[in-house]
Symmetry: C2
Subunit: 512 residues, 2 copies
């Protein structure tokens, strides 16, 4: 297709979309505008409930909060536990039946959040939401919550853990249905709601919970409401995600801390050992050097390649924005790189830095690695490749802190712990009829052309879902891409939250 024809087709599509927006969009938007102060206040209240995995009692408070809201909405909420109430956190389920509907859609989001290091949060405590008039990195200022009747600027940012990932998803889904009901608009599909509380812990129990409730969870599509819109600002519908798994790595020096003057450069320093080991895992262009790392990758098909080629090119924009003078991967684009397996150092620590640093040789050095997987990789096999590689570097690899006799017998020791909760990549074919219906619905509430993507760089437990349910998963993200997801100072751009309500309302009223 030549460029001129492509341009004209795009215009036609946009005009069609604009006319389709019609009364529907106006109704949903109007509901939001009338209620935006209450919505912001309700969302803030939801964000104020801490939701990190290690704080199980509070994670439960989030589930209770959702059950209450869903009861009020008439969604007959249930909680699915494994065993007794207590750990692990439940999946909160609810449903809305539409008389005569031919299709059933499951909306999935998660109410738990990534761990927080409150010291690193410079804008606020992670669970005390605050508003900035713009992103604080761009000079945004802290402003008070709006007074009654005060206009809410859609460029404001609300800062809190899970503001984007993924309470925004949970909140927008439920609010979308409220907006439909308030306008007397009947959904066109049966709707099932599924809110998980262990996604950030790797969804260790989701598969079993879904399998136990398989009959209840029959559906035509599993819509995953998580992740960011495209970096261009355009909405995207994503047909896959990368798999993910985490590894804890520890290497050792002497069995007790030593004075760096009396023993330094004689007694091996574990920080240097870890540095040498990690450094060897990539070449100077950032390519992973671990043998066989990419061997089992399933190549992209023509549909996926075409989608990637047609996606907006955002590398240069991102490099400027993130102030990157250089990227990794030997010149490959971001979109190409998220289609190959990765190895990331999430964290690395030995001894102390800053004012706590002492002139010592630390006893251990730790790293946490994050391995992202693509179709064809297996998360257990990928960790085994890593283990073999470490062994090839001369390390004796064990799963416990070494005894003195192990230390004496093996000069180089690495403890490797494969964290619980990994899963494989998943990709739904891009040409299923339900996929086109989803894209059409999102297009209905978009002024720009919706992007279709074969995979998200991030991970969601979709392989667990498809293994358990045999329902195609499609991801419809709403968060701004610069949301500091997983890191300190997570935020959501208010307009993205408002757009999310319209997007999910459109999905609930998709073509029959």
């Amino acid at each position: 297709m030549n460029t001129a024809i492509k341009f004209i087709l795009t215009l036609v599509l946009l005009v069609a979309a604009a006319s389709a927006q019609d009364n529907f969009v106006a109704s949903i938007r109007n509901y939001r505008v009338k209620n935006e102060q209450r919505l912001l206040s309700d969302f803030t209240q939801f964000l104020s409930i801490p939701n990190i995995a290690s704080d199980t009692p509070r994670v439960y408070l989030n589930a209770d909060h959702l059950v209450e809201r869903m009861k009020r909405m008439g969604l007959n909420p249930k909680t699915f536990y494994l065993g007794d109430k207590g750990s692990p956190p439940p999946v909160v389920y609810g449903e809305w039946k539409t008389p005569g509907a031919a299709k059933t859609i499951i909306f999935y989001a998660h109410y738990d959040g990534q761990p927080v290091d409150p010291k690193a949060w410079t804008v606020t405590d992670p669970f005390k939401p605050v508003i900035f008039d713009r992103p604080f990195e761009k000079g945004g200022k802290l402003i008070p919550f709006p007074a009654t009747g005060e206009k809410i600027d859609p460029e404001w940012r609300l800062y809190a853990r899970s503001a984007s990932d993924d309470k925004a998803g949970v909140f927008a889904i439920l609010t979308a249905l409220e907006a439909l009901k308030a306008n007397g608009i009947q959904p066109t599909v049966n709707i099932k709601f599924l809110f998980e509380g262990e996604e950030e812990a790797g969804s260790p129990h989701l598969g079993e919970i879904l399998t136990r409730n398989k009959d209840l969870l029959n559906a035509d599509a599993f819509i995953v409401c998580d992740g960011p819109v495209h970096q261009s600002g355009r909405k995207q519908v994503v047909f896959g995600v990368r798999g993910d798994t985490n590894v804890d790595l520890t290497v050792y020096g002497a069995n007790r801390p030593l004075h760096s003057g009396h023993y330094g450069n004689w007694s091996p320093n574990p920080a240097m050992r870890l540095a040498r080991l990690l450094a060897s895992m990539k070449d100077d262009r950032g390519n992973i050097t671990i043998k066989g790392w990419n061997d089992d990758v399933e190549p992209l098909g023509p549909t996926e390649k075409k989608a990637i080629a047609e996606a907006p090119q955002i590398d240069e924009q991102l490099k400027r924005e993130l102030a990157l003078g250089q990227t990794e991967g030997g010149g490959k684009t971001l979109l190409e790189l998220i289609n190959i397996p990765s190895l990331n150092i999430n964290g690395m620590k030995s001894g102390d830095v800053g004012p706590l640093a002492r002139n010592v040789i630390p006893t251990t050095a730790d790293a946490v690695l994050d391995l992202r997987l693509v179709k064809g990789n297996d998360f257990v096999r990928q960790v085994e490749k890593l283990r073999k590689y470490i062994e090839l570097q001369g390390f004796y690899v064990i799963d416990h802190d070494p005894t003195d006799s192990e230390r004496l017998a093996h000069p180089l020791i690495a403890k490797l712990i494969h964290r619980k909760g990994g899963y494989n990549a998943q990709r739904t074919p891009m040409d299923l009829p339900i996929g086109f219906s989803v894209v059409d619905a999102v297009q209905r509430v978009s002024s720009e052309q919706v992007i279709r993507m074969p995979t998200l760089g991030g991970s969601l437990p979709l392989s667990i879902i498809t293994d358990a349910l045999n329902v195609p998963t499609i991801t419809v993200p709403i968060a701004n891409y610069d949301n500091n997801q997983h890191a300190e100072n997570e935020n959501i751009r208010i307009q993205n939250l408002w757009d999310g309500i319209e997007t999910y309302a459109a999905l609930m009223t998709m073509k029959k």
Copy 2:
């Protein structure tokens, strides 16, 4: 000298020493035995006063404590400040004049301590001293402080920050004079006391304070009461120390934290950049690869070489004890290695490890390096070698966090901060008469032959002292070598504290 003759000479020396121990040793020991409960209690009280540099008001409480004790002992204490009372902590000075004495000896120790990470202290809070019946690493048990009249086992360990480094030195010096006075034994020399409060911060003001008080500080020897006895357990007299300086190093990724799935292996990870940089600084045998690192080292003279050759060989003992299957330096012994400049990673950190780890690309990675220097090195020049090396690896080296335009112009950026308070190595010739007098005095209270060492692996600000005062410095350590100095769980073996009192009393009554 063949082995048989050497053996006989050693015997003769030991017999001579044993007879010289005579009444003198018995008197000092007797004083200690009679008072050991009070002494332990007084020392514990001293250790309970926090003494880390960042907590200046409490560092001052230590100085006040010493002034009080020295007043009671009639030592006319003074405090030397730079500027007003406040920061920095003072040098506490006192003196004891001996009628007719021909020699003057300065006793130096420091009352400040290394920083502490209370979370890492597993035996107690750093400033809540506790007793274990043996080293806790060897299965020692926490025991209560002795009841009145209960015998104190000299193998007990007292745990607290500065238990060894260096409040043991301060305490043993003052107690030695008390023991002499209580026995009516007159010192043979004039004694000056100098207790510093900034040694662990690199003695940034000591030089100026000494220079200002040069006339008052005229002396024949400057006895430094710090550091550990030899790893063989034998007492040592040490004629030099290594120099020392610290560097803070930071490398950068994107200007904000990023989701490791969406951007990992495209946006560079600063932890990997730091790992690669640090790893390149040593080869796989632990030899430093930085150009010219050893170029300006002054070779050891024949006296020093002989002393090293005659010192007990402790590498194999230490390797077993520390459970080291391998050491660095390509087969060189510990004693050889402490005579060349070192590079140690004190600490290294990027993102978080353990439960706080998140699936992110951190924004920065930090390391603190400790550079030990030998005679001939200059601490400023050594850091410049490091800076040049980092530049050669392609880094733009700056002294501030980079701006976005610096980041865009320079793909690799390292912030290098040369910490305040470095100093050079120092070595007193081993054949000065005062050196022999010191060794003889220490031998008087030793049942084994005293070891003479050209240098300590550790550092003390002796070059600052000799630059300011032109007085030969000789180090007479008393702490057990396995004291966890500078690290968590610092301790002193009670017998070493008791021995220290005898050692310093012997020095105060050295040959005229």
